[in-house]
Structure formats: structure tokens, C-alpha cells
Symmetry: C2
Subunit: 445 residues, 2 copies
């Protein structure tokens, strides 16, 4: 069976989504809308909803034409959504670059208990100057340093999540013993980036620990994901690239002694769905027509490594750019090949990525979309997909109403939830409790 995530982004994934008449104003801070989206995704039996993040407002030329500068913080948003849903997983992004591991471990553990075991943590590193500037750093941290910090951050968080045994809180009212001191484990960690004593002030979580999610595509990102991630989101423009990434990541995981099913690979898919192909095309063209040239160029500028392209001619080929020093190197390569292979001008590239930002994109009927997903799934390019609705709520509604039943008819997707936790939805094994020292030792080796 295929897995499905609903990747929710403010007004939708299309850069002009906020201008569509069906999209509520100020969607990024509209809780009623998010509640509706979460319930739609849950009614369609999605494995999880997923929220990306940035620890800075969008900036630079064209920012005022994009809808990314005002939105909910993921952990507070998903905690609120936990209270109005029952089964669907809740995956929040949190950076290891500008947080403390105790705080991140604690907030996710809290979300675990609030949701009855439905939390996932998308570990990212932060890569741009705007984010650095909000946390007292003049420059962003260099790529390798970010990953060294991320690795240690992760080992501390894992150890904190296991700082109480499964049965630590005995709650023995008769004798007055609230917890078993033998199941209380300090970390006493002193590493290169962090010194953390522990224990966490939250009990071990309903699904053992939150599901570990990553999306790094670089060498360092893949290495970390292969060693530790249980779910990997990725941007793949075509099936061959998807297959290569999938095979590479599963092989890397095997080298760490991990079974292929312990790590699920889910490419993003930008899908514009219609009752007919003509209707889908119309919907897509209507959105494309709303792309202000400044917003289009702004999107390319950001996705290609934060190079300001606002001065470049729209109708000439994308200029040659030096390799970015941000964490967007893989995305830069992806967009550069898209432009080169398709001989695209800057304007054409902007329109090409205005929806899917380089991810797999499909415009068509439910059968068209299901065909592509089935093909990727059966060809070993994906264990599932992270759906990127072009607009909300309509884009998600379309997929839930048209594509999900088609996938279900084909026996590719569940008709009801069998489990209660995100781990159960994804078919991931229960993580047995390990002593904090084991987590810290393993990751240091």
C-alpha cells in the first residue's frame, strides 16, 4: 500500500495561489481553514499532514508579492490540530540550527501525548542569512557544520525521548510512589555543540518516540537520513531521478544495517486535478495567469540558492550561476538542469516551477494522476507521496474527492485507518527503549 502525506502550505503550493478567488485571505493564519484541511485529509485516510518551516519572514525583491511572510509556527499549529482530529499523523518541521535539543525534544514529546502518538519531526538545518540574523549570527552556518550540529542534536533528542523507561510512571497511589527511580535516566551529555543533563520532563511517548523525518538531498543530508530517518521527503522531477534517489537511499540505509521498509521515501507531487483533462488544464492555466512576473522571478531567485535575479531579462535564458553556499545546492542543480534541458528563459522557468517548485507535477484527471503515482510506486521510485495541493481548500478537496477513491479502487491505498499512531499508519516498527548512553554512544561512533 502507498502512503500519502498532505503537505499544507498557506494558500497552497502554487506561488500565485493566494490570488485565486477560492482561497481565503490571509490563509497562513486562518485556523478554521487548517482545521478544515486536516479533517479533509483525515476523512481521506492520509497518513499525515506535513508543515514545512522557516525561522524568518521571507525577504528580498518580490517578497511582498508572495504569501510566505505570515504563517503559523508548526508546533503550535499541529498541537491545535491534534485536538480536532483523531487518527491522522502530524509532522512538524523544526530546525536543529537555532533551537536547543531539550526544547525540541520536549515540545514534540508533548505533541505525542496530546495526539495519542501521532507526531513526526522533520529535522532540518537552516541555511540562509535571514534565519541566521534572527538568532544572533551574522552569517549562516557552513553546510558541514550545520550537519555536524544536526547529528549531535538528533542523538541528544533521541536520548531525551528515552530518558524514562516505558513503565517509569507507576503512579502507585497506595504506597505513594509516583515513579520508579530505576527507570529515570540522566544523559550527562557533553558534546561538541551541546551539554545536556536530562532527564526530559515528559514520559516516553505513546508510539515510543515521534517518527523521524528528513528531507536533505545533499551528501550529508542523505547520510544522516540513511542512518536515522524513518520517512524521507524528496523533490524528484521525473521517474528515473526518483528511482535513482530511492535506490541510493535504501542502499545507504542497508549499509547501516537497516531494512528497506524501515525507511519510507515519499517524493512530493504537485497535482492539479479535474473531472476532465480540459478542466484540469483550465485550472492550471488560471493559476499560471496569476503569476506576477516579479513573484515568478522571486521564486526562482529563492529556489536557486538565494541569488537575486530581479535585474535579469525575463525572456533570455537563465544566466549561469556560481554554486550556492546555502543548503539549496541540490535544488539549484535541479532547477539549472530543468532550465538547460528545456532551453527555458527565466520567465519560462518561473512558470515551470510556479506550482511544484521542481517536484513531480501532474495536471489531469484522477486516472491520469493515479497512473503516474502507481507507475512511480511500482517502479521503485516511491513508497508514497507528499501531496502538494495547488490551492487550499479546493486543491486538496479535488485530490481527496477524485484521486483517493481511484487509488483505493486500484487497491493502492487504505479505505480506513487500521492503526491509531503515525508509526502504525506507516508500518514502522515500535522502537524499543534504549538507555540514553546507548543513543549517545551509537551516534558518536
Amino acid at each position: 500500500m502507498m502512503h500519502l502525506g498532505a503537505f499544507l502550505m498557506e494558500s497552497g503550493h502554487h506561488v500565485a495561489a493566494w490570488r485565486a478567488s477560492s482561497v481565503p485571505p490571509r490563509a497562513g493564519l486562518d485556523f478554521a481553514l487548517y482545521r478544515q484541511l486536516a479533517r479533509t485529509a483525515e476523512a481521506a485516510c492520509f497518513d499525515a499532514i506535513f508543515v514545512a518551516d522557516s525561522v524568518a519572514a521571507d525577504e528580498g525583491p518580490g517578497a511582498e508579492r508572495m504569501s510566505r511572510s505570515a504563517r503559523f509556527e508548526p508546533l503550535t499549529l499541529l498541537s491545535a490540530l491534534a485536538a480536532v482530529t483523531e487518527r491522522i499523523g502530524l509532522i512538524a518541521t523544526a530546525t536543529s540550527s537555532y533551537n536547543e535539543p531539550y526544547t525540541v525534544a520536549r515540545q514534540f514529546a508533548s505533541l505525542e501525548h496530546l495526539s495519542g502518538g501521532r507526531a513526526g519531526w522533520n529535522l532540518v538545518t537552516s541555511d540562509n542569512a535571514a534565519e541566521a540574523g534572527n538568532f544572533g549570527r551574522a552569517e549562516h552556518i557552513a553546510h558541514e557544520d550545520r550537519y555536524a550540529r544536526a547529528r549531535e542534536f538528533l542523538q541528544v533528542v533521541l536520548a531525551l525521548w528515552d530518558s524514562w523507561g516505558d513503565d517509569a510512571f507507576v503512579n502507585d497511589k497506595a504506597t505513594g510512589l509516583h515513579h520508579d527511580p530505576a527507570q529515570r535516566h540522566e544523559l550527562n551529555h557533553r558534546g561538541e555543540h551541546f551539554a545536556v543533563r536530562g532527564p526530559l520532563n515528559v514520559a516516553r511517548s505513546p508510539q515510543g518516540r515521534p517518527v523521524l523525518v528528513q528531507a536533505g538531498a545533499s551528501e550529508a543530508g542523505r547520510a544522516l537520513a540513511a542512518a536515522s530517518a524513518e520517512l524521507v521527503f524528496t523533490a524528484q522531477p521525473n521517474r528515473a531521478a526518483g528511482q535513482a534517489f530511492y535506490a541510493d537511499l535504501k542502499a545507504r540505509a542497508a549499509a547501516f544495517g537497516r531494512a528497506p521498509e524501515a525507511l519510507k521515501v515519499m517524493p512530493g507531487v504537485f497535482a492539479v486535478v479535474g473531472e476532465s483533462r480540459a478542466e484540469a488544464q483550465e485550472k492550471h492555466e488560471a493559476l499560471q495567469a496569476l503569476v506576477h512576473p516579479e513573484a515568478g522571478v522571486a521564486l526562482v531567485s529563492r529556489m536557486i540558492g538565494n541569488f537575486d535575479l530581479s535585474g535579469y531579462p525575463l525572456d533570455e535564458p537563465l544566466p549561469e550561476l556560481p554554486e550556492t553556499s546555502t543548503g539549496q545546492r541540490s535544488r539549484q542543480q535541479l532547477l539549472s538542469s530543468l532550465a538547460r534541458d528545456g532551453q527555458l528563459t527565466l520567465r519560462q522557468l518561473a512558470l515551470k516551477i510556479a506550482g511544484g517548485r521542481g517536484h513531480l507535477s501532474v495536471v489531469g484527471t484522477a486516472a491520469d494522476v493515479a497512473d503516474v503515482l502507481q507507475d512511480w510506486f511500482e517502479a521503485g521510485a516511491a513508497d508514497g507521496f507528499n501531496l502538494m495541493p495547488p490551492t487550499v481548500p479546493a486543491g486538496l478537496d479535488d485530490f481527496a474527492r477524485l484521486v483517493v477513491p481511484e487509488l483505493q479502487r486500484r487497491g493502492l491505498f487504505r479505505q480506513r485507518y487500521e492503526g491509531r499512531t503515525l508509526r502504525e499508519h506507516l508500518g514502522l516498527a515500535w522502537p524499543a527503549h534504549r538507555l540514553p548512553t546507548e543513543h549517545l554512544k551509537t551516534a558518536q561512533a
Copy 2:
């Protein structure tokens, strides 16, 4: 009219609450229970619910006999409660000692939008070694340094909350202008403790900004509260002390040019309520009988400045203790005078504070409790009270069912909510937008 907060603490405020048969097991991580409590408080028209915090598990002798080591993190908990309530205010504690101002500003701003303007931030400083050890500090920060950091932290948070103008997000679909660049304000702050560029990636909040809450009783704490707090929680053992504190704080606020009604003072009240005095006494005695001596001594040890008293004889007077270097100096003085004035042994002091921890405590009928609250309110000792239920849910139910109607009959408490935001419930003025530079300048002066 009097204001009422519901101070929710795991199993309840009595140190033995978790052993009472009516209290659900593992109450600190039971969301269904918290939802019930929030709805009870909202049905009774409380101004707010309030959640305290510590960024460490409880430790030291007797910790295993207390219920403080496993509980929800406040911002995630209150975000979830925002989704299942409509009107009641949501006040979360967050420390300035081990957080980044951008993160705190952002999570509270997010809670503001999730809740439609019902958030309050209880700014605290962290004062013990267990907390320091979880954030890479060998020792806790000295008292004055903590407050210097807190002052700068607050000015940065205020500036971030105003980093977008009230009407910044114009969302003009026709022209494609999402926000007005003229209403986007960077901070470019470089201070002693923080360097933060801004702007925040959340719009200005529904009530202008979250309500600012503080509870510091020291000289530095009072000075900060007088300058900036809109609501002050305090522990006062008797009316005379309450009057002195109230007068002092209002006078200090006046010295900053602030009107008396711009700052509300709310002492805690531990109330055990029965249909009759005998029933109230029985309830209280039943809880007192559940206090394990080790838990009682552990509580005194913690409240008196983290001195380990576990080796001291139970039935002799409290030993003389040196002045604590933690932030609990005021509480240490309060408990020392309680013991000295009442000529209490260690065991007697433990039982005396087992419920209210030195706060105003009342055991009696609804009329008895209402009499005391009315007396303090009319005598200028309080603008309202922060209710500390002995157990949950029963202790809160009793107060809501018996005392609230009595206060309403006396015309002292609202019968329905008039406003929608916490600021409206408390009768606090709308904070006009100020440029970040003004916030940063004022606080530095």
C-alpha cells in the same frame, strides 16, 4: 468586577493530590482531562487558565513521590486547548533564561492567531541547576544577570510582535500585492544578550499583542513587572501582606506613568470548598493524610530555595538556613516567617504548605471562600485571584459549582463573557502599534 484565573497543575495543587482516588492517573499528560478542565473554567467564565513551567524534571530526594516530573509543555498544551475552547484566556509560562526571543515571540504570536486573541505570556527567569544543566550551563545564572537578560529579551519580543503594522497584510488579489512593504519593520537589534534582525514571520496579533504576565516578587522582579506587566501573579499568605504588595506594585507602576488599572494583581488562592464546613475540612484532612513524609520534606526543600532537608528531624523546628542564591528568595522568606511565627516543626510546616505552598488558603463553604475573596478585593489586596484547585477535576468543579455562583450573586464576578479576547476580559487597553525602534529605545533607557 473581580478577575479569576484557573491555575492548572497536573493532579492539582496539593502535593498529595495525585494519590487521591478521584484524580486520574498520570494527570500531567492526560489531554482529555485538561480539555475537561478548560471547558469547566470557560463555562464558569474564568478570565483565563494558567500553566506554570519548569525546563527540567523534578529531582533530588523525594522527587519520586511527587507528580511534577511528567507533564505537557505549556505552549503545545495551550495551543491544543485553544482549539477546543472559544472565549477563555490561555496563559503559558516561558522562561527568558534558556530560550531565544524570536522563538518565544513567534510561538506566542502563533497561539494568538490560533485562539483569536486569547494568549498571555508569563515571563519567568529560570533559577535552578537542574534547568541550567539541560541547556549547557554548569551553574544557574546569577539573579541580577537573569533579570538583565529578561529585560532585553522582553524588549526584543515586544519589538518583534510589532514588526508588522496593523494593516500590513493587504492581500490585494487584483494587483498581486500581498503585503505593504512600508509596514514591514526590521529590528536590527544588537544588544548585550541578543542580536535579532526581524521581522517576525507572523502578522500582528488579534489583541495587538499577548497579555504580559509576570510573577517575580524580588526587587528586580517587581521593577520589571511595574514597568511592563499587565497581570501579576503573587503568593501572599495574609491580607496585610497582600495589601502591602498591591500598594507597592501599583505605586511602582505609577512611577512609570502607568494607570493603576493597566496592571492587575492576582494573588493565588488555594481553596478547599465543601457544601458545609465539615465537608470541606474532611476533604482537606483526607488530602493531608496522604502526604508521605518524604514528599512533605521534599516540598519544603524545593520551596525554601533547594536546600536538601531530607536528613533533618521531622518533629523539631525548621533549621536556620542561609539566604538562597536562587530566584526563590522571596518564597524562602515567606516560608521562614510562616515557620517562625507559627513555631512550626518541619513536619508541621510541610503540612501547612502541602496545599497552597504559602499562598492564601481557605477551607470552607462557598460563602466562606467568597467572604475572603470579597474582603481582599474590597480592601485593596487584589484585582482578582488565581485559583489553585487542590485536586482536578473535583477541586475545580467544586469552585465552579459553588463559589462562582456565590460571587456572581454578590455582583463580584461576570455572568457571561462580554468580550472575545483575554485583553477584553481583563479590561486592558488595546496596545497601539509602535515601531520596533521605539520598543528597543524605551526599554534601553
